[in-house]
């Protein structure tokens, strides 16, 4: 079965039109492709920055305090995104012959990533509440959640169910 690599999702988010069947599980990810994924991931993160810049209505002082904390947060989120990309790519590569042990290990990793992502979001929303205000932190968490849902919705629509 053909399965799209996560790159396709990132392409879609970045406005690209890569056909879904561009990559198959038989093709080992080449270095160029991995590099493309990293570039696209960086693009998504840059777009996120502009979402916050446009929606948090920060004063100059708030801005100066916010961005270093946000960058710290994004660097940690990036590591989780990389783990998730790796997980999806492994799933794609093993899709047709997925063993029970691989299914359990994959599920455990997915749940660990989600749990760490939720912890990070909570921890940094608290930090942002102190820097900006709880009201703006609530707005930040809403925006972050919206972006997460949009990405998740695209990703889940491309990943076939285990069989």
């Amino acid at each position: 079965m053909k399965i799209a690599r996560i790159l396709v999702t990132l392409m879609a988010l970045a406005g690209g039109t890569l056909p879904l069947t561009a990559f198959s599980q038989d093709e080992a990810p080449d270095q160029g492709l991995v590099a493309d994924e990293q570039i696209l991931l960086k693009q998504v993160m840059t777009d996120k920055r502009s979402v916050y810049a446009n929606n948090l209505e920060m004063t100059g002082t708030e801005s100066a305090a916010f961005w270093p904390v946000y960058d710290e947060y994004e660097a940690k989120i990036k590591k989780l995104d990389d783990r998730f990309l790796n997980l999806v790519n492994n799933y794609a590569a093993k899709y047709d012959t997925l063993t029970d042990a691989e299914a359990t290990a994959g599920l455990k990793e997915k749940m660990a990533i989600e749990s760490e992502r939720a912890d990070l979001k909570q921890k940094y929303t608290r930090k942002i509440a102190k820097i900006l205000s709880p009201k703006k932190a609530l707005r930040f968490a809403q925006l972050e959640t919206r972006i997460e849902i949009a990405v998740r919705s695209q990703v889940y629509s491309l990943i076939p169910l285990a069989h």
Partner: protein
């Protein structure tokens, strides 16, 4: 799942006098909410059962555990609705205190949702092949995302 409960509740926010509506929520609306919640759960159960392609013995073992899961999940959904209503009633005049409380409760709800799926994935491992447990979580995540997407479309950002 054309009408999600979250969308219904959140939709109140967009009806102009959101705060007043949320504060004077009628018993009928609560009945409607409960009815919709039950309907959504029934619809969800049908999708999950169909997607898992269970054999008869698997279905017999899976269903009672899944019913337990649904019961616990419903309790979390009710807390989620309460928080949405709190958001609605505070929307026009959100204070930092109210925002802080909503955030705290919202994160706890998300954590409890994740923990619940984790807990039941372990339980399902006793009654289903591991690949079907993975499939269950995948289906659950997809359905959850459909509801979340609808909710995100109608819940305004705090101001």
């Amino acid at each position: 799942m054309n009408r999600s409960l979250l969308a219904l509740t959140a939709g109140m926010l967009l009806m102009g006098n959101a705060a007043a509506q949320a504060q004077t929520q009628s018993p009928n609306l609560n009945d409607d909410t409960q009815m919709l919640l039950s309907q959504i759960q029934a619809d969800k159960a049908a999708v999950v059962l169909k997607s898992l392609e269970l054999t008869d013995p698997e279905a017999r073992a899976f269903t009672p555990v899944y019913d337990e899961y649904q019961k616990e999940r419903k309790e979390i959904a009710q807390r989620q609705i309460a928080e949405l209503n709190k958001f609605a009633s505070n929307y026009g005049s959100m204070t930092d205190k109210a925002a802080g409380e909503i955030l705290k409760n919202w994160f706890k709800i998300q954590e409890d949702k994740n923990d619940l799926v984790k807990k039941y994935a372990k339980k399902f491992e006793h009654v289903l092949p591991k690949t079907k447990v993975l499939r269950f979580v995948q289906v659950e995540n997809k359905l959850e995302t459909v509801v979340d997407l609808q909710a995100a479309r109608v819940i305004p950002l705090a101001k």
